[in-house]
Amino acid sequence: MLDMLQYDFMRIALVSAILIGVTAPAVGTFIVQRRLSLLGDGVGHIALTGIGLALLTGTSPLLGALVVCVLGAVAIEVLRARSRSGGDVALAVLFYGGLAGGVLLTNREGGGASLQAYLFGSITSVTARDLYVVAGLAVVVLGIVLVFGRELFLLCQDEEVARTAGLPVRFLSVLIAATAAVTVVIAMRAIGLLLVSALMVVPVAAAQQVTRGFRGTMLVAMGVGVLSAVTGLAGSFQYDLPPGPSIVLLALAIFLAAVVGGSVVRRRRTVPAPVPDEARAGATAEAEVRGG
């Protein structure tokens, strides 16, 4: 397994997998609590148009996707806040427009093969320059979570209470959507646009089976994210499998293990004896090991 580190592209891929594993679930915890689990999916569709535009104009696909994704996420948030009823259809229009536009534009450039790579991921195509951009974006995402985390927590708990606490609710809503968009761009090369949001949602779904708090859920989800990204990548190298689906299926396996483990933990917890942190961390690690 360690021989994969002999290759430059695998070292780059590994670092990029770790960055994805950390950032996607960190943002995902807020996204899941805010019931926006499919936001990442929508942004992923829109990203394709950005890539198409970038290929057409000869700029970096990463940059094209970044600009279009952030604009798309802001548009989604504005539509969501504006109309409670028509927002659903407006979102669908944006998603399919983004996907169709992207396919059309990349096809024009004769990029059928690269379209496949963007849709389902090809971590081995990440260049050293891409890695610097991805690392920079990951720092931005984690910085936002660190600085605005408390406010985003209250926003995701109860938007009205957030407003009576004087929080800039509209700004924070756009911020969390834009951060999710940046995360999609970070992960798109490796996981693929159609599977990106799985890594934002599935590790969180797994973690919340065994945790009691928000911070704990986020940290465990990040652990699940890194574990499935690194193990999935190693597995795909070893057995010549596509990395995106391998990573996502591993995360789903951990989720299933956590569902089983979580029901056991909860049954034990119905006796109101305080469980110390170490014991809980141990139970979580166990669930992870069983999954991996």
């Binding site: 019931r35 708990q157 209470v161 009691r212 928000f214 859920t217």
Partner: protein, 258 residues
């Protein structure tokens, strides 16, 4: 401190989908006052307090928090809002302490970690509602009454001057109601302003300075608290009933001032 009242509405109107939920309400809540907003389901009592805080836009009239319209109000650390329930959201768990600590957000800089004053306020709020021993438990696994107390503790942690509570007693067991009455007695003793929406007052009744009874989006009765026998049925029959509580009330106020 400004001399403007904590909450004041003049001719407040709210429309939902063409139906008028508030039709011209005048209400002034003075500093240190303990006001109960009563009424049947759909009478507009929740809408009234939500409009007072700017959570529901007015279609007519005006409302002010400490003399400033909600949209331009900035001093939100003076306001504590207790919603009816803890939304489950997407099901990410949160500990009791995490939720209560988020009530400090209006008093904290986003660039600084929690100060010892923040931690002390959160500890005090948890103790006040009797949930200090549940601080590390998942709030969503608590009973309904305990969840209400978590929401109250979140508002208390912000050390507000005016506390607005939407039905804190509905569906709460007797023990939690008694605990709530004790918390509110202490707040009233410290001169905090409290606005409370309720179906029935129960053990809170002796604390109330003034009652507003809502009916069809209007104030149907305003004055002393109705007698303890006040119930939804009695209200339906005679919403203008005045309770003989004047003597008891001035006793209460005298005790509180002393």
């Amino acid at each position: 401190m400004s001399s403007a009242p904590p909450l004041q509405m003049t001719g407040g109107r709210v429309r939902f989908d063409g139906r008028e939920a508030l039709s011209g309400v005048d209400l002034r809540v003075g500093a240190g006052e303990f006001l109960a907003v009563l009424g049947a389901n759909g009478s507009g009592k929740s809408t009234l307090v939500r409009a007072l805080l700017g959570l529901v836009p007015l279609s007519g009239g005006r409302t002010e928090i400490y003399g400033v319209p909600p949209a331009r109000f900035r001093d939100w650390k003076r306001v504590g809002y207790v919603p009816q329930r803890l939304p489950a959201g997407g099901g990410v768990p949160a500990t009791v302490r995490e939720i209560v600590a988020s009530g400090r957000v209006a008093r904290r800089s986003r660039w600084r970690p929690a100060s010892s004053a923040d931690r002390a306020a959160v500890d005090a709020a948890l103790r006040a509602v009797g949930l200090a021993d549940r601080a590390r438990d998942s709030a969503h696994l608590l009973s309904g009454g305990q969840q209400r107390r978590v929401l109250i503790a979140r508002a208390l942690a912000g050390e507000p001057d005016v506390l607005v509570m939407d039905e804190p007693t509905a569906g709460v067991d007797a023990a939690s109601q008694a605990a709530l009455a004790a918390i509110l007695r202490e707040l009233a003793g410290r001169g905090r302003t409290v606005v409370l929406v309720a179906h029935e007052l129960g053990p809170l009744e002796p604390l109330i300075d003034r009652c507003v009874v809502m009916e069809h989006g209007r104030v149907a009765h305003e004055g002393a608290p109705p007698p303890p026998a006040w119930s939804r049925a009695a209200q339906a029959e005679d919403p203008h009933h005045h309770g003989p509580r004047e003597g008891a009330r001035s006793d209460e106020i005298g005790m509180r001032a002393g």
